[in-house]
């Protein structure tokens, strides 16, 4: 997204416009949920973390630097919320742990930024291309198997796959440059 789009979306989000909340969720909701699930390992806690992330973002939306890109800003909030919930759950589970133990970060926090970048890049793909990526990478299907499952010609799967990987490569290269 362009910086001006980010700024406009954040301003509309700060005003509580429903369309802006839904747009932001479409862009980052799955990545936030995925990050929280990776850290917390529990779907209901991940849902709570996603809701809290949106709440915190909304409370802060009209105060952050307007030039700050939305994705990394939301990632920072989501990561913080997930860590807070992880510590809360840890505290509840082990009432007698001392402060140092509670300060320990969840072991799964380490690669959340890479996973976040991949998920947000995947979520920007058109649905038909995202579907191909999921079938071939996650389910490990060949192009022929994916074509049979979707009921479309193998050539279509190949062209969609090529387009999807080109788009992802471009997007991931941009994200890498932005965070370098």
């Amino acid at each position: 997204m362009a910086a001006s789009d980010d700024r406009h979306l954040r301003e509309s989000f700060a005003r509580g416009q429903e369309s802006a909340i839904r747009r932001l969720y479409d862009l980052y909701g799955r990545a936030i949920f995925g990050l929280a699930l990776r850290v917390l390992g529990d779907r209901s806690l991940a849902e709570e973390a996603t809701q809290l992330t949106f709440l915190k973002a909304w409370q802060a939306a009209d105060r952050v630097d307007p030039n700050r890109p939305l994705g990394p800003w939301l990632y920072t909030i989501a990561r913080r919320v997930a860590i807070d919930l992880y510590r809360r759950e840890r505290r509840h589970a082990h009432e007698d742990v001392d402060g140092r133990d509670i300060a320990v970060l969840p072991p799964t926090i380490e690669h959340t930024w890479e996973a976040w970048r991949v998920r947000t890049a995947v979520d920007e793909l058109p649905a038909v291309e995202r579907e191909i990526i999921e079938l071939t990478h996650f389910l490990g299907l060949t192009h022929e198997e994916a074509a049979a499952r979707l009921g479309i010609p193998v050539g279509t799967v190949k062209s969609r796959s090529h387009r999807a990987h080109r788009r992802l490569a471009l997007r991931l290269a941009r994200l890498r440059e932005a965070s370098a």
């Binding site: 909340i21 909701g29 849902e47 809701q51 890479e114």
Partner: protein, 211 residues
């Protein structure tokens, strides 16, 4: 093939003749190759493809809508608003006369300062509802929260505290909370730093007087 094609092939994990030769002469692709191979492993990770429940977006919209309302329901002092309020009051009086007073709160309490450095008072009127409690907080006598803080209203009881929402001082604020006051008899207002921590801070500004 251009650089994007080569990079797409790396991401896809495809064996393409000439790839190594291209990487040997293209600095940018060589620099990206490692990252792309890492990203490729994430694409095969089940956690990446986990989907949130389908209604989560609606729940977030509802939650933020509830939180937005108090901002929009602040007392207005414009002439048009005064006319509208006057007309509404006349209608309400007529309704009370005809139907009885259905809007009378179930309880009211005065909030007084604690030992906090912020001074001020507020009153809270509450209505018991099927899903919890609706409160209207008159915070006109409360000074504005410092720039990097917000106020938050809490219901406190033996089971802990439940947030009714955040607000800024200077008018009437309407909030709802999903618990009954009989279970959470103490009402608190805290000053919350904007640090992302959902737990209440230690900065209790006001406390209800009737619990």
């Amino acid at each position: 093939m251009n650089c994007t094609d080569w990079r797409a092939a790396i991401l896809e994990g495809r064996e393409v003749p000439g790839l190594e030769a291209h990487l040997a002469r293209c600095v940018e692709c060589r620099r990206l190759a490692g990252d792309l191979r890492t990203f490729s492993t994430y694409l095969a990770d089940a956690a990446l493809w986990e989907e949130p429940p389908p209604d989560l977006c609606d729940r977030i919209v509802c939650m933020l809508d509830d939180r937005s309302q108090p901002r929009l329901r602040r007392r207005s002092r414009s002439r048009l608003a005064a006319w509208v309020v006057g007309a509404a009051a006349a209608v309400a009086l007529f309704a009370v006369w005809v139907l009885g007073d259905a809007s009378e709160p179930d309880w009211q309490t005065t909030m007084v300062p604690t030992e906090s450095t912020i001074t001020g008072t507020a009153t809270v009127a509450g209505w018991n509802t099927e899903v919890g409690t609706r409160v209207v907080l008159d915070a006109t006598l409360l000074p504005s929260a410092p720039g990097d803080h917000t106020y938050e209203l809490w219901f406190a009881g033996e089971d802990g505290v439940v947030s009714a929402g955040t607000f800024r001082a200077g008018g009437d604020v309407e909030l709802t909370v999903g618990v009954a006051r009989r279970d959470y008899p103490t009402i608190l207002v805290t000053l919350e730093p904007l640090d992302g921590d959902p737990a209440p801070s230690d900065l209790v500004v006001l406390r209800s007087t009737d619990a």
